[in-house]
Symmetry: C3
Subunit: 368 residues, 3 copies
Amino acid sequence: MTRKTRPGGANGSTAADPFLRNFWYVAAWSDEVTRAPLARVLLGDYLVLYRTEDGTAVALENRCPHRNLPLSEGNLVGDSLECGYHGMVFDADGRCSHLPGAETVPDWACVRAYPVVERRGWVMVWMGDPAAADPALAPDHHGWLDDPDWLTIKGYCDAQCGYRLILDNLLDLSHLAYVHASTTGNRALAEQATISAETVGDGVRVTRWMSDVPPAQALIDYAGYDKPIDRWQYSEFIAPSYIYVNNGTEAAGQGVTAEQRRESQGKWGFVVYHALTPATERTTHQFWAMSIPRAFVPEDRIETFEAQMRHIPIEDLLVYEAQQTAIDLDPAAGGDVRPLGMIDADQGLFAMRRILQRLHAAERRAAG
Amino acid sequence: MTRKTRPGGANGSTAADPFLRNFWYVAAWSDEVTRAPLARVLLGDYLVLYRTEDGTAVALENRCPHRNLPLSEGNLVGDSLECGYHGMVFDADGRCSHLPGAETVPDWACVRAYPVVERRGWVMVWMGDPAAADPALAPDHHGWLDDPDWLTIKGYCDAQCGYRLILDNLLDLSHLAYVHASTTGNRALAEQATISAETVGDGVRVTRWMSDVPPAQALIDYAGYDKPIDRWQYSEFIAPSYIYVNNGTEAAGQGVTAEQRRESQGKWGFVVYHALTPATERTTHQFWAMSIPRAFVPEDRIETFEAQMRHIPIEDLLVYEAQQTAIDLDPAAGGDVRPLGMIDADQGLFAMRRILQRLHAAERRAAG
Amino acid sequence: MTRKTRPGGANGSTAADPFLRNFWYVAAWSDEVTRAPLARVLLGDYLVLYRTEDGTAVALENRCPHRNLPLSEGNLVGDSLECGYHGMVFDADGRCSHLPGAETVPDWACVRAYPVVERRGWVMVWMGDPAAADPALAPDHHGWLDDPDWLTIKGYCDAQCGYRLILDNLLDLSHLAYVHASTTGNRALAEQATISAETVGDGVRVTRWMSDVPPAQALIDYAGYDKPIDRWQYSEFIAPSYIYVNNGTEAAGQGVTAEQRRESQGKWGFVVYHALTPATERTTHQFWAMSIPRAFVPEDRIETFEAQMRHIPIEDLLVYEAQQTAIDLDPAAGGDVRPLGMIDADQGLFAMRRILQRLHAAERRAAG
């Protein structure tokens, strides 16, 4: 009795669908999903998110099939959502369980229910064929996000740009030298890095190794470096739109390779998680977080540190949105899909785009 | 010498015209039309409204044919409107009577004059072929609106939604249970109503009868009910986009039918008038009013009563506009024209849409 | 090594290009171009303007070819502009001189450099084929703009209308009677003018002569007239979108013709310069100025005079933008290109449009 996906509608995969559907996407931070219904547009679909009385997160199509009122305008009755217009009640599985004034409920009176998995602060929904929604496929690489020995700073940006522009940013960390020069970046990041990129399945790993370089300001401030350091950055793209970055440093000259330090932060470092969920082709929900061992930030400097770290995504946001403006002004520029040229630091970006293109082609083939 | 309607222009009926033209539409409340010209977009046309020195309302095309300046930017000179750019003067019939610096006026120097009828506070304009503008066709069902023994509360909403969404609202009053639960509605309206709908010519009448039900809060507060009541609601749709509602109540168990009480408010009740004039396909001028016998509202409670009644159209507006948002997000949803499914309470809505479709088809045929 | 214009792109001339390209356009007032990069959209192109250390104005494409970030988000390094994202450095000729972390620079790493000429407060850029950019073609008719014996009042409007609507305004000065009736205009300007228009090459000259007419308010206030005057206005259109106006007056009855006074302001008058640069088809950069001999405005009244003069472009702006609103509401109106009818005062407007059409046709032919 689950409602059929309308052919050609925003809810279904079509030839022209700009989004990958058969993936888990972050819909909200866990603390955003409460007993007050939350409306959110994901991949062009309109969803409502709420929790049942036992705390389970629910994601339904946010559109009463009777008269199109968003169900987020209604009220929770137990585990069900009552439409705020004429009182139709929808259970957590999307079925209508009550039609006021009637004894039976018509077949069409149901809304799409999106499979949900919740892990370490991320409420993830499956945007494609529900039959293929395997919780084992949901990302679980964000292990430090809820580790009590780590300090986590997280936030949300309603980014007015396509999601690939944000992936680009995170797969080429030379931008720290220019965009974040007052904190995590200095020129060495752009001028003295050895870069390699490798594609592993549906993921990309970019490794940046800077040997015997001056420390950036945040490294002077928090790690106490006053001499050259070795620094490594390891950015991983996980399809369709997740990024994991490991940043580490060590006093220079110890002869250890970046590869050996892939999992380590060395003397001082941190990790960064980004989950990017397209709202539309030109807007993106950006769920960002950075996690750092508590021992790396003195208790009395946490407030300053957090303020600095919260400023970084804003610096980046100005970049993405200015890029989108420039792209929109030039219809020949090919959106954010087709960059004009490639430099060495772009290997990861191009590898990521090739994976997205391959996955899109596969979804199109599967859709017939 | 009246200017010809340009073929294919916004001023004329075309195959793709989304609006019914050969009808009287409310353009403004009477007190909005003064000696200061008022600009308003109706059915995609740009109009200017003003009064002559004897108080007669005038409606002209709001566009100087010389250089497209809205005439509403100009000034009244006697009964005529002088363009604020180069001083062309247009009389109330749309003819240019003065062209500064010239002795004759070219043929093209005229604007469309819209026939106007003014009744009981409504300034109505005829949006179609002027030759067919029969004042006898203008609505005159709003008799209580200017009755001194009745208290009238009226207002205007610049609704960001298609006009049919508002008609839907008023032809299915079960929504009072959910949208207006703090005043005129309670659950009985949705759960215990007997509903019938009949089509009479170009109109629809929906009758709702609730027998032996608890009184809603406003009925407790103002009619003093403390026992079950009978309640009736009678919604009439008048083409192209007028609604008249009669609400009545009586202590339960007197054995009188809703049909017998069609014209009566019983012990306590009120009437509601809505005149809906599309501005564009997605925006609507909503002229709303409710009228109630003065005896039904104690003098010292009029202020509170009025505040409550003014809140009701705002509650509805949030619904219509949220519906429009949801509709806009789904290109496959068919705009507000084609709801997904029908329940019993929707008989009136579907009958109204069938009438609109029939009238549209007739106008298209007539336009050739 | 200059980057090729992409075919069909916003940077190149195409069949559907709504703009004339092979002309000098004002991009900014001289004092707007500094060592802080300025972003501006001209003819649909996105430009960045700045000065080198020796003060030379530079205009580059505002789009890093690497990742589309506007270069205006970056910083100046000497005479070059460093991209704020990954540090590519572009010299004033648009060539990339440094790619961080690399020893060579790829061919595609350059931006379009627009030829620049700066004269008397106007920074002008050549928007077409750089090979055809002849400084001798740059306008230099604005001689009073920087004359120390003249008082100049200047400003900028981000006009939300097509540029032709502003040209129209300035080629038919009868509008002073209606739009500027509190200062420079009175009815005589519309009712008693003798008008002639002549086309000379790519320019239009409109002469308005008013003989033995009452003085307008500003002429009473500043020139001290208390008797009828002769007044002349001489508007010159210079392709593609410049206007020069000379306004003069003299006590009536001295038998001198407007033609003889073309270059003179008589007893009291002023000149007006407008440089109009389309941003998009519906938005225009309006650089306006009025210059008046200092002797014509008493020292202690300069502040009042300036406030009055600054109000005039605002009065006009309300007109243009209201026209654009009316035009946008009527898809059949033909944009601002095709006015409905012509009156005597419109000779100059029609002549100007014929020139624009001829120049457009020539550019299209040249583009093949």
